[in-house]
């Protein structure tokens, strides 16, 4: 309970999370109406509150006994505003993809809420959930497994219309699919081809076309370019930026490549072991990081200029990421942190503007979950 009340205080103290306008819907119709209401630019469209996902670890063959849990996502809160791109970065296994699956309702949450236009989508079902699915779509990481090899491109991109027949009348679908292929830069004549006849970048474009088909408001991008060649990555990211302007989309952009995230994001959240370590605008995170983990991540970004490379400080973390089944007490990063002290093992640092920066309008005044947050410009350090 004490933990909960702390989190409540934190919500009030930080601009990262705004107050949720819960829309009470007594009937399914009311819920659908709330979901289909247009979103206003600059308003929070998706509000995630204390999201938790634990995967149980069981033992025994016949009688399964729970012996623990992998705490993949352990209490994260953030807002996604209409029309913005929120980047989520973090190393492998920090829970980024689980967040994406939870937001898509592909996994059930253990605790916490996800509000879309004031409706908690974790509790929706039936028609209301279907309406949410129309508005929140996903682009997957691996363009080789995310397209059914037995379906033609036309079937893949046209499937959303079959599931939601109200979006496009039957006779119109083929034209719509060809339009979508054209929008993502593919030849509309290739509607009858199969996925294996395309390159990785082209396949990812097919996946994007499928995500766009229902004209959604939010697209969750789970490492959409990390499986692609660097040259193709830029094309796909630029395509996504163009589509964002054209269709007024909000992106949640998950990646482990810091440069790509900086390129596309308005705000960035840094995740470590199931929690958000630091969140702010891309200038705040990249030029004025205050969390030691963010600083370590940024110091590992390759720098093309050899002179700058010589002179910059490299922070090399020791040890491995601890197991999410048994995370460290207090601050989760303390086992690898050069600043760690006794306090870090005892007290969980809250994601809030550090005390020393409160009231200041310096870019370092953004939420950072560290007891000893201090600014350090690792990217430009000379």
């Amino acid at each position: 309970m004490a933990e909960l009340s702390k989190n409540d205080e934190q919500q009030d103290a930080t601009p990262n999370v705004s107050e949720v306008d819960v829309v009470e819907a007594r009937t399914e119709d009311e819920a659908v109406d709330a979901i289909e209401a247009p979103a206003e630019r600059g308003e929070p469209i998706l509000q995630v509150r204390n999201l938790v996902k634990h995967f149980p670890l069981t033992q025994g063959i016949l009688i399964k006994r729970q012996v623990g849990a992998v705490k993949a996502v352990d209490g994260i809160s953030f807002d996604l505003y209409q029309g913005e791109t929120l980047g989520i970065v973090g190393e492998s296994g920090c829970g980024k993809s689980t967040v994406a699956k939870l937001l898509m309702n592909l996994e059930r949450v253990t605790a916490g809420e996800i509000f879309y236009k004031g409706q908690d989508i974790t509790k929706l079902s039936g028609r209301a959930l279907k309406a949410v699915r129309r508005n929140i779509q996903m682009v997957f990481q691996d363009p080789y497994t995310s397209l059914n090899p037995r379906m033609t491109v036309g079937d893949i991109v046209g499937e959303p219309f079959e599931i939601h027949p109200e979006v496009a009348p039957k006779g119109d679908r083929r034209r719509k699919v060809q339009e979508l292929l054209d929008v993502v830069g593919l030849n509309p004549e290739h509607i009858n081809r199969y996925p294996h006849q395309f390159s990785g970048g082209q396949r990812q474009r097919i996946g994007i076309a499928r995500g766009l088909a229902l004209n959604p408001e939010i697209i969750i991008c789970d490492e959409p370019v990390s499986a692609l060649d660097v040259s193709v990555q830029a094309q796909v990211v630029n395509l996504m930026e163009r589509l964002q302007d054209e269709f007024n989309l909000s992106y949640l952009f998950i990646a482990h490549d810091l440069s790509i995230v900086r390129h596309i994001s308005d705000r960035v959240g840094v995740m470590y072991l199931g929690q958000i370590a630091e969140i702010g605008t891309d200038e705040q995170i990249y030029d004025h990081p205050t969390h030691p983990y963010t600083q370590a991540l940024l110091s590992a970004v390759p720098v093309p200029d050899p002179d700058a490379r010589e002179h910059r400080e490299r922070i090399i973390l020791t040890g491995d990421v601890p197991s999410p089944a048994n995370p460290p007490s207090g601050c989760r990063f303390r086992t690898r942190c050069w600043k760690a002290q006794d306090k870090c093992a005892e007290e969980v640092p809250l994601l809030a503007i550090p005390e020393r920066f409160q009231g200041s309008d310096s870019p370092a005044a953004h939420e950072s979950a560290c007891h000893f947050a201090e600014e350090k410009d690792v990217v430009h350090a000379a």
Binding site: M151, I163, R205
Partner: protein, 311 residues
């Protein structure tokens, strides 16, 4: 969707605008099935086994086209000719009852093919449906179904066949097919279940769920088409296996019973005198071997053409 036209560079990740086909022919459709079929047609093994199987099918459907007399007509057998060797007009000779072996071999094709085809259809349907359900449901339902399938899988076909045949009482091609299906479905079940479990965690299934697809749509549009190739391969091979199994059961006296004609029965009748008159054994045994070989060969080439793991 906005109709706005935007200028965009041609992406460099592959030419999206390919030159049109020279003579304006529609673009070649390349589904995995069509690729597999194109691949199959080029293989001599496929052509040979396909030709043999086609002949066998014609023999099974219309044996009268190849023999002047029916083995069931009066006076077909003449004990005077018992065990006589091949003569002109009776190329395969006579058996111990003085019946023409050629006519009986030709008419025996039908029972073998019926058992092979019926057992294959039944095992594929039964194993496929149960495997699909177990794979999709998972959890305790999957555990229960899998344990039950293992009980049947553990029964040797001859012991299980003896047991079930003695329980059923009458033995004809239909009961033999039934027994082989009861004992054979776990094989298809295992493959189907494995394929379903392997496919259901793929991203394209997650993508369909994210679109709001119903469980039925996911099962039939996304998972089933991706499980069919190995099932088709195994079923093709099973055709030969079940034909051989029918002959074994009949040979042991628990399969098809006289006066019905079966290659296994003919082999059993001829085995006592094979040293003095080998022709009575040779021709039905040869027909059986050729048939089984043709189906196994077909299964082999089909596997090479369709199984994505070998491509």
């Amino acid at each position: 969707m906005s109709e706005q036209i935007i200028e965009r560079p041609v992406p460099a990740d592959g030419p999206t605008a390919k030159a049109p086909e020279p003579d304006g022919k529609p673009e070649r459709v390349a589904s995995l099935w069509r690729d597999g079929w194109r691949d199959l047609r080029k293989r001599p093994m496929f052509l040979i086994s396909g030709f043999v199987i086609l002949c066998l099918l014609v023999l099974a459907i219309a044996p009268g086209l190849f023999t002047a007399r029916s083995p069931f007509s009066d006076g077909f057998c003449d004990l005077q000719h018992s065990m006589d060797g091949p003569t002109s007009g009776h190329l395969f000779g006579y058996d111990v009852q003085g019946c023409d072996i050629y006519t009986r071999t030709v008419w025996g094709t039908r029972n073998s093919i019926i058992v092979g085809v019926v057992s294959t259809i039944l095992t594929t349907a039964l194993g496929g449906v149960i495997g699909m359900l177990a794979g999709l449901w998972g959890g305790w339902a999957d555990s229960v179904i899998s344990r039950v399938s293992e009980i049947f899988y553990a029964l040797p076909i001859l012991i299980g066949g003896l047991l079930i045949m003695s329980m059923v009482g009458s033995s004809n091609v239909w009961t033999v097919s039934f027994v082989l299906s009861i004992l054979g479905w776990p094989q298809v079940y295992r493959i189907m279940r494995g394929e379903v479990i392997g496919n259901k965690y793929n991203d394209y299934v997650a993508a369909a769920r994210a679109l709001g697809a119903s469980p039925m749509r996911i099962a039939f549009r996304h998972i089933l088409p991706n499980t069919l190739a190995p099932i088709v391969v195994v079923s093709t091979m099973n055709l030969g296996v079940y034909i051989a199994a029918e002959a074994s059961l009949s040979y042991l006296g628990i399969g098809v019973q006289s006066p019905a004609i079966s290659w296994g029965l003919m082999i059993s009748d001829a085995q006592d005198r094979w040293l003095t008159s080998p022709h009575a054994l040779l021709f039905p045994a040869g027909a059986l071997s050729l048939t089984v070989l043709a189906f196994i060969m077909l299964g082999d080439v089909v596997r090479d053409a369709f199984d994505p793991k070998l491509r």
